[in-house]
Assembly symmetry: D2
């Protein structure tokens, strides 16, 4: 795609695949709004006072319909927004189109190259000559990374006059990042430094991004406050447990149409994602075997009537294999060779290295037969039997289905809105230093509260006397920080 910024009739910049899909996007946004009560309640509660008046927000997060509802919540609260996706495949083009047309500057399309991806990221930060965003919504930390690397390079340049050297790294993606920074440096040697000075803070969506932030906090290199949205209860439990419980069978059924009842399924890992997956498979009538390294999680699996075995124990017996670990090398090609014909292998954990895709692709004589996009049968030459790999080993709920449903994302994204509000409201109070914070529990509870009405729930209210008896405020927070839910 020609990397040229386009403009709407009102002059707002954008770059999306197909503006004609905007109407379809609007229809789907309207459906999603009904399923995202947390975000809609934020509009009702905060909209009138326009708390983000004057705030510029840059977001880098999968440009989907649900994200569109998030963006329009931010703008409804007064913010000006620029957005890119945090993944080259995850944009829904109709969502990008309608937001570009109606609400914010969007630079995203499904199937970007890495070059295009970083061009879009750069655009999301391009608030014109006089600087960058006030606030960042990040997912995976790429925007945060770019700014931190940019500032580092500018400091080095100021000290030594040296430009960053893209050839100094083998990582092709990081070469692109360094090139962008180098080019920026030539234009404006204070570009990222000015940006950093303006930034009030970032709220980060995922484990990966949060991990990077804590590392920067520990090394003292974090340039602005960060809120770890990922570890809110209403984010982590809902996204991982309930989200995957929904989207794992959805992905399996769309990709393979296979009957789950009666099958033997192996779930590798019994953290929140694994718990959601195992529950969904058991409910659908599969017999579920769990593999675990952590004896506590293993004992939890046993308490639910699940068998705990090693992958090796179950390899030749199972019909469905799901990795949920966040670790690598969980299912190797040597394992896949031992599986039953047409065993299904998929990953809903983290990166595609949970499954040894490289080993599979380079296996001598292996034959790949694409049944349909995201559903491949790989046939081994020795046995002529094959296995079915979903989404090329990447997240199968995104690749084969539509990811988490709107209601789950409403929980996540309401945390985002509240985190952004918290950062913005406290921008001058000094409450937040250059550290990583989780949302205070009463805000986590507030996120939950905003989702109860939609589901017809009536909450009980503590009397003052009862609240005193258990030493909590009448309005919460109700639990100590270490409470496990």
């Amino acid at each position: 795609m020609a990397l040229v910024v386009e403009k709407t009739s009102t002059g707002r910049e954008y770059k999306v695949k197909d503006m004609s899909q905007a109407d379809f996007g609007r229809l789907e946004i309207e459906l999603a709004e009904v399923e995202m009560p947390g975000l809609m309640s934020c509009r009702t509660e905060f909209g009138p006072s326009q708390p983000f008046k004057g705030a510029r927000i840059t977001g880098s997060l999968h440009m989907t319909i649900q994200t569109a509802v998030l963006i329009e919540t931010l703008t409804a609260l007064g913010a000006e927004v620029r957005w890119c996706s945090c993944n080259i495949f995850s944009t829904q083009d109709h969502a990008a189109a309608v937001i570009a047309r109606d609400s914010a500057a969007v630079f995203a399309w499904k199937g970007e190259t890495l070059q295009e991806y970083w061009w879009c990221t750069e655009r999301s930060l391009d608030w014109g000559p006089d600087g960058g965003p006030d606030l960042i919504v990040d997912d995976g930390g790429d925007v945060t990374l770019l700014i931190h690397e940019g500032v580092k390079a500018e400091e080095e340049y100021e000290k030594t006059g040296k430009f960053p050297d893209p050839t100094s790294t083998d990582n092709p993606e990081f070469q692109i990042v360094l090139t962008i920074i180098k080019d920026g440096l030539k234009e404006n040697p204070k570009k990222y430094t000015q940006m950093k000075n303006r930034i009030v803070g970032v709220s980060e969506e995922t484990t990966t991004g949060v991990k990077r932030l804590y590392q920067m906090e520990q090394t003292g290199t974090l340039l602005f406050p960060a809120i770890n949205v990922n570890d809110s209860v209403t984010k982590s439990k809902f996204d991982n447990l309930y989200g995957c419980r929904h989207s794992l069978p959805d992905g399996l059924m769309r990709a393979t149409d296979v009957m789950i009842a009666g099958k033997v399924a192996v779930v590798c890992g019994y953290g929140d994602v694994g718990k959601g997956c195992a529950s969904a498979l058991k409910q659908a009538g599969a017999r579920v075997i769990v593999t675990e390294i952590d004896p506590i999680c293993a004992l939890q699996a046993l308490m639910e009537g699940l068998q705990v075995l090693t992958l090796e124990d179950a390899i030749s017996e199972a019909d469905i294999f799901v990795t949920t670990t966040g670790n690598k090398d969980i299912i190797m090609v040597s394992d896949m060779k031992k599986m039953k014909n047409n065993a299904i292998v998929c990953n809903i954990g983290h990166f595609d290295n949970e499954i040894d895709m490289n080993g599979l692709e380079t296996y001598p004589g292996v034959k790949r037969i694409t049944i349909k996009p995201q559903t491949d049968r790989w046939v081994f030459p020795e046995t002529k039997t094959g296995i079915i790999v979903l989404a090329e080993g990447r997240l199968m709920n995104l690749g084969c289905a539509t990811g988490h449903p709107s209601f789950v994302m409403s929980c996540s994204f309401t945390n985002q809105v509240i985190a952004q509000l918290e950062l913005w409201n406290e921008k001058t109070s000094g409450k937040y230093e250059k550290k990583v914070y989780v949302l205070p529990k009463h805000l986590d509870e507030k996120v939950a509260l905003l989702h109860l009405g939609k589901l017809g729930a009536n909450l009980t209210r503590l009397s003052k006397d009862q609240a005193d008896y258990i030493s909590v405020p009448v309005d919460g927070p109700y639990k100590p920080a270490h409470y496990r839910y």
Copy 2:
């Protein structure tokens, strides 16, 4: 589509939408075969002896991938086969293509007109000048109907010289049937009579078809023996209960992506289909309310922790409504008006008249917004709120998902193969009169048996002593006819 029969290079007739989809069809057949152990076992067990050698089979049954595996099982056992679909929408064009290319004479495509539908049906019976099929596989009874009406008309014609009069009926579909018969009569006044004389019997797949057969049996007008496959345990329980338990959530998720957990779902009817649906929704985290007319089924629902209310009780509280009754007028437009905004309304029971589609379509000022094919939002003028109707009120698991999974269809279709074998093997023995029979229980048990190995089951074997103790043969049948499973 021009109604012209085409021929393969080997001279076999066909009419399908797109022959180029045959390869894709073959891929999907290969996947399905692994999930259809009953049919594959029939090939192994009976293939070598070619029991259908010399038998002509005409089938009228949804021309899907699963049906393709059925057809190729029949041909693997020696039969010659001609096929049409029993529904204008249900053909999978890649399945039709590959069967037409490789295995049988197929006349079917997705989206036939009624005229085209009956042309295809006629072709499936067109075995050339010297008569019709030996055996019929029917689903809904349209082929059986055509032959019976044909014979009736020929008898009338022989007696009175009168042709059937298409204008004698208001039913547009029956007008087509009469026209076909009339045209046939002009060519050959014994066409259907000759056909009837050759036919050994029919095996019928569904409730509707079975109902017609019993009516003909009672009125003494049934022209050949019929086996009621529908009421085999391995058909009815598996198709209705386990099939819908799988395909209801599949359809909901594909059509709407809505989170099922936390929602209130109303399941109208708690027969086998309703039991499967309620179970699936409960497992997915919905709160399920059942409506029932039958106090026994209602009590069963209560024993599973489900609430039993009238539709009226639940109408304004529920998020999802599913009809499973096989009756009509279950959810009327006056009900729909009272529902919450974006309540989902769908039918997995029988005909689209379970939902008052006519009332909805003709409601003054109602607005239909098609979100995507098979997913419509209908907005009422008074409230500006809307409901979401799936598959235009027709079977949502077919319209929004891919119907029952292969494993379930393997149970159904193994019953078909065994019923066809039984009819053919006993064609001269006089075992079957012009009546409707259910498969003997030991054959029903055999169908189940053929599916156990795939799921890794080991069956226990009665000793002679034990068998005598409970007065059953060592090899079954194990249960009395009235046993309820």
Copy 3:
């Protein structure tokens, strides 16, 4: 116990263990009444018209609190009642006491000898010099047996002058029966013949009794009409499936206090009882393995995610073994020797011969350690490890817990009341011949209906139009006879 009939102050006969428990019995009856809405509704509906006015009912059925509510329903409808238990262990002495004191002639106590048991049975038929009962409520058929054997002996005596010879049989129980008949014959050579002439019919509670009745029907020896209550849906499904789902874990917990979660449980047999047991164990967090001889039931188990193996496959892995088959020799002593230390072995199927108690008791060197009544540890000499056998291999839900809960028994017993009413109302109409009948479906439905209100259910009502559409009456019956529920 001295076998002497006692009399209440009102002159009613009885023989129970301890009259002082009557007050406690009344308290428990009052609790049970709230849980037995079907019986209480019968009192409300039929009580005023006293339909049983003048009817003498003899019952032989476990003399428990629930049976007490049945008896007082019969008397509330006008009947005069005499009662014994149908099992030497099953009487609840406080239930016997209160009924003896307040409502009917009872002859029953916990722990009868066989001699005592048949004495009680005889008393229940002893309506004085001028004959026997009008109606019989039977469970297992012992009263029916006694009368049939009595009549047979009297006919033989009339023909040949020969008395029955108790030494003609090896069966010690049948020796007692013959002795009773012989003694009766000496007193009154037409005793049972007169009785038979008066009897309107019997309603039979269980499989065993029903089996005997059908055999008598087939051999033409049945002396009066019989209603098979056992095969009402509201009896068989509720008693077997829901009853055992409740009482299996209850018995396990009371007997052993063992944690079910995390354990491996083998359920032998997957009929209704097995389905209830497997469901309960799975819900409680066990991993359940099913053994089956019937491929259909096996496939049903697989569809619920249960593993189907042979006992041998699972013998050394499982912690809990439950027999539910109704067959014999399911778990042999050779199996028990291979079990893990402290594996629990119990039977909830039928007779204690499902478990090879004889083989266990006679195993050389085996040591029995009674932990508490009904809970024995049996230690094998070779391994010094042991297994825990519940209720000496008899029904563990009766032996270790309190049997089925009142609500389940209300379903069974409402069938009994309605069957008795039907027999009595039709006593002169000729509707019932000397055959075995199941209750007509509309009465089965009525039983269910009477239980809905207690559980807060609202039934939907068919319109006339809808009823016609599916060809059923508006008020039911709603299903064909072969419907499987």
Copy 4:
């Protein structure tokens, strides 16, 4: 009971109800050992090295069979032990008898008066003239309280010469405590001070005790290190969630025999205890309504398909009410009056003040009918209808059943053993200050590990490479402190 210490033939002191129950106690211990693999593994792993050689342990914890296995694990590791119960009702007399006879000095019986209770507690600390215990196992903190109050009084006495004044408090129990201390002070004015000086630390079992410890830590009055066993994952989740999931239905069934299926159950509170209860009730076929004050827990309930209402909303509809909150005044007498006849009301949370027992007992004209011990029907004068209260509002799983099963207690108690070992091994290292500590996560994981083998689990082992990838040691701990499981 006469408060006189008795002695075994070996000279060990004790005071129990009935020494003749010792053999029965031994039988039950042998059963329990098989279900307590964590404790038995500790014996195998640590027994040979006798790590507690020379250690005196005083325990105050329900003197049950499971505790007996704990005590004999401590003695198997070399400790000398004195024990009392921490609750006047919770002792199992056969457990006390066998331990007194075989293993440790026990002072406990079922149904102690408060006076007797504190006499027993004092005896458990009476290690003779030269001082007290080295280690304390506490449950609820009464032993810890006695020592702290003792030391406080001795310090006051040393300063002012004043004895503590039992009349200074209205609390009758605290009057007893002060009297004991006063009497001790007269004998030895350094009794508790000497004791304190010897004590290495305490491990505390429950929330209540832990709460007190944290308060003492905060006020700087804690006299020795304390390990909070309660908040180990393997304690809190297993005890609360899995323990109550087992013992709630057990208690309901033993107390009332009521059928759970079909009933409406209200669970007040959806913490771990509430989650376990709601799960058990739902599985058993009840329709479950949850009341909650915390929106996060409420949302979790909704995700499981449970309805969230206030008590008021559900009061007249429900059949079973369970309090699980740890708060007070959850169900008031004004609520109970509105309930259905024979609604069951019980508490499995904490103290009996969750249910307004005082309000009930003092309600004018209310009538209490004891059905059987721990099961009372309370009849209101206005309506003549009644409710059924279990265990007089105290913990129903202890009062009506046998508390948590052995396996759950094995998790708790293995934490205790490991905590005691940790305190003892580090007694001179200075690792533990006068603060409250939770067990380090790798020990929590170890507790889980020791329970896997019994349940047939095979744990997966990380490779070094994988461990590095996710930045954890190969042998754990595997999760960060805040991980929620």
